[in-house]
């Protein structure tokens, strides 16, 4: 028995050594990426491009479900973006609240006939509206079919070759769209591009824009600031050098419409539609030997409200994990498949064994350690040292994300905010991380049979986010 426990301990140690080495690799790869991206972000020539007619026209897709509190602020902010040629398609997905009324009242909507074919099948459309006050705005009212179905309806209605999906609870910075088109302007073969999503909780929001970036004082929201920095600033930047990202945030990602149509749009049965879509795009483009890139660029920023209650956060994380498990199962044919290049050989295995299985291995590790301690196979100082190293590594990664933020974009200018960031980076590994493991673990038992509709979340509204 003690032999088994010892071997299991070594297996777990090896697993975490391999996983952490990979994180270290991402960390190293993120350095030249952020160097290049900050150089390009500072380039004034893009201001010149903004004045030219060269910018690709973009359709902004805004699915909305029960968003009556935030919809006006979100759409107003989107309509104030610094971009020459774009339209906004808001889809009211059969909201039970007054979302459509809020839109009708705020933007003086009038009904118009449909003037486009239904390329991707969706739930029936109830009505199509234009605004008398904002000519760029189109509103679709349709039967409830979930976020993916709403996005598909918006893609059908879009007129432009690039589309960006934006959550109605997300605030896009005025120049973010312009920055997001940079890879397209640089002439690379871009299939999709993702920008940074930051936490709006605690920030000062005026007229639908974040005017003062602050780190929230509340523990749960504050820790998520660090978590988002880590996920975006070094995780996704590192992936740029390893064959492209497998996730473009559903809250802020720009896609070529022809590719979306070719893969049939968003999968309405998927639990996490953004992950599913990007994996399908990779599979489609790789199998057809199309040269493409799906990069992440850090300077375009969208702000989102994150959960501040454990219950809602748990539900969100469980849903993300369920989506990951379902996607990994659905696209298992890509795993270690050289036909899909680095995506099949590196990205998919990492997400399958590193991200998806990590909570299982971690809980197994805790169990084995406790059993080892009880049987005397593992001594107490060794166990404590192991936990110290594991937590220390997590802390190191979080601090590295703070460093990248400090040397590059520095959104949080106040010393107080920096101190809070460091504090939350330290506290994250104790308690919060273990809760995350538990929520993700629960997802394994909830996977299968459950159809995704909307990831519901209790919102406070942006203008009250600072209170």
């Amino acid at each position: 028995m003690s032999e088994i426990i010892r071997d299991a301990n070594f297996a777990i140690l090896f697993y975490f050594l391999a996983l952490n080495s990979f994180y270290a690799l991402l960390l190293v790869l993120s350095i030249p990426e952020i160097w290049e991206q900050t150089r390009l972000a500072e380039d004034e020539d893009f201001q010149r491009l903004m004045q030219s007619d060269a910018l690709p026209p973009i359709t902004i897709l805004v699915p909305a479900y029960n968003e009556q509190k935030t919809i006006e602020a979100s759409v107003t902010a989107i309509l104030a973006l610094h971009y020459r040629n774009y339209e906004v398609v808001v889809v009211n997905d059969g909201s039970k609240d007054e979302t459509l009324e809020a839109l009708r009242h705020a933007f003086d909507l009038y009904e118009i006939p449909r003037t486009y074919p239904e390329t991707i099948p969706t739930k029936p459309l109830l009505a199509l509206y234009r605004s008398r006050t904002r000519t760029k705005l189109v509103v679709i009212d349709k039967e409830n079919g979930g976020k993916a179905d709403s996005l598909n309806a918006a893609i059908n209605a879009s007129r432009f070759p690039l589309v960006i999906a934006v959550d109605a609870d997300t605030l896009i910075e005025p120049d973010a769209l312009l920055r997001l088109t940079r890879p397209f302007l640089l002439g690379r073969r871009i299939a999709a591009v993702g920008g940074t999503v930051r936490v709006a909780n605690g920030c000062v929001v005026k007229h639908g824009q974040v005017t003062d970036a602050r780190v929230p004082r509340r523990l749960l929201a504050g820790i998520q600031v660090v978590e988002y920095l880590r996920a975006f600033l070094f995780g996704r930047l590192g992936w740029n050098r390893l064959g492209g990202n497998l996730i473009i945030s559903g809250a802020f990602g720009l896609f070529r419409k022809d590719h979306l149509l070719a893969v049939g749009g968003y999968d309405a049965t998927s639990i996490v539609e953004d992950l599913d879509l990007v994996v399908r795009l990779h599979r489609y483009l790789r199998s057809r030997k199309v040269r493409y890139e799906i990069p992440f660029i850090p300077d375009p920023v969208a702000w989102t409200e994150v959960p501040e209650s454990l219950r809602v956060l748990a539900r969100q994380r469980e849903r993300w994990q369920r989506g990951l498990v379902a996607a990994m199962w659905q696209y298992r044919g890509m795993l270690f498949n050289p036909r899909y290049g680095r995506v099949g050989l590196i990205a998919v295995p990492f997400y399958a064994f590193g991200e998806m299985l990590a909570p299982l291995v971690e809980v197994f590790g805790y169990g084995i350690t406790v059993a080892g301690l009880a049987l005397g196979v593992v001594n107490v100082p060794f166990a404590l040292l192991f936990i110290l190293v594991a937590w220390g590594y997590g802390m190191l990664l979080s601090l590295w994300a703070v460093v990248l933020e400090e040397v590059s974009f520095r959104r949080y200018r106040r010393v107080g905010d920096l101190v809070r960031l460091l504090l939350f980076a330290t506290l994250e590994t104790v308690g919060y991380r273990q809760c995350g493991v538990w929520w993700r673990l629960r997802a394994f038992f909830a996977t299968g049979g459950r159809k995704h509709v909307w990831g519901e979340m209790t919102r406070r509204g942006f203008e009250t986010a600072t209170k």
């Binding site: 380039d43 020539d45 030219s52 640089l186 002439g187 060794f382 190191l396």
Partner: protein, 353 residues
């Protein structure tokens, strides 16, 4: 070494790294504050002197002296931002005066650097301060493999007239992604005379593999001198070329354009037919009305849509054609006529745009 020793070493290394990261964060803030305190007054001084010089109240030598006090990257940034605000002749005098500056010579040398960001800086500098003597350097930068560098370099065409540069940019144009191609096209418009001459030659080579892209660019120029060449391509075997020709001819009200569009609206490919219908609407020649009535029964939705919209530009006769179709026998034409007649004037204006 036992596993315990190994973990102890790792913990120690982690501790050192954590401390180093904290120190790095503090030092980074401190350096930034110090640099800002040092450079900010100089930037303000450059802004002030540039403003006085633009108004003719300061000598160019004062501008040069203040620019030399800035770090090179900031000096280039100041030049780029001021270049749009100062009239051409005056700016050319500054560009000539900059040739003797040590830092400007250094930036020019960077056009051969192995580092792309150095070449980008050189390209940005030359885009606002190039003189005819820089043509070879700009040519090299125009052929740079890094997209940011050649995009910055092509902006030189706004200020320097050179057939060699225009030729190089036009050669590169068909290989570029559509967005960047459109940006290049915008820059090439500044040298219209040279571009038109080059295009007349290129459009005559019907076996040119990049003819579709050149036709697209020629269409954007809306240059009457190119009409004949474009009309000649209406029968080209490449459907993309025919589509671009169909789009371009809408800008040239000429019997030859209408004759070509009459053929193109019955093309085998629907994108060609859709563009031809649109262009016939732009020209609004009454003789083409029967063709558009027929096109309203086209098998493809987009052709019918474009035709319906084109008919709205014919005034009462077009509207009558739509009203006839609305009660006609063809269900497709009936639906489309109903749809177009129901569109608001605002929606029609947006479609026309």
């Amino acid at each position: 070494m036992t596993a315990r020793h190994f973990l102890a070493v790792v913990a120690l290394v982690q501790g050192v790294l954590l401390a180093a990261l904290l120190i790095l964060i503090v030092l980074n803030r401190w350096f930034r504050l110090r640099r800002r305190a040092r450079v900010h007054p100089r930037r303000l001084a450059v802004e002030g002197v540039m403003q006085r010089w633009a108004l003719g109240q300061a000598d160019v030598r004062v501008v040069l002296a203040q620019l030399a006090r800035l770090p090179v990257s900031l000096a280039v940034e100041a030049l780029v931002s001021w270049s749009a605000r100062v009239p051409g002749d005056r700016w050319r005098r500054l560009a000539t005066a900059l040739e003797g500056e040590w830092w400007a010579r250094m930036v020019r040398t960077n056009s051969r650097s192995a580092r792309w960001w150095k070449r980008l800086e050189a390209a940005r500098f030359l885009s606002v301060a190039a003189t005819p003597a820089d043509t070879a350097r700009v040519l090299k930068l125009l052929r740079d493999p890094h997209p940011a560098v050649h995009i910055a370099a092509v902006a030189t065409l706004e200020r320097v007239e050179s057939a060699a540069l225009v030729t190089a940019a036009l050669e590169r144009l068909p290989q570029l992604a559509p967005t960047v191609g459109a940006y290049y096209a915008g820059m090439l418009r500044h040298s219209r005379a040279v571009v038109v001459q080059l295009l007349l030659t290129r459009l005559s080579r019907t076996d040119d593999p990049v003819l579709a892209r050149l036709t697209e660019f020629a269409a954007r120029l809306q240059e009457p001198a190119l009409r004949e060449s474009l009309t000649a391509l209406a029968g080209h075997s490449d459907a993309e070329v025919r589509t671009q020709v169909a789009r371009a001819l809408g800008a040239f009200p000429h019997p030859a354009s209408i004759a070509a569009l009459t053929r193109l609206v019955e093309d085998a490919r629907w994108p060609v037919r859709a563009q031809a219908a649109r262009s016939l609407g732009m020209l609004a020649d009454p003789a083409s009305l029967p063709l558009l009535r027929a096109a309203l029964r086209d098998e493809t939705w987009w052709v019918r849509m474009r035709t319906g919209l084109a008919l709205t530009r014919f005034g009462p006769s077009g509207r009558n054609a739509l009203l006839d179709a609305e009660v006609g026998a063809d269900p497709n034409a009936r639906d489309m006529a109903r749809l177009v007649l129901g569109l608001s004037s605002q929606a029609l204006a947006e479609f026309a745009a």
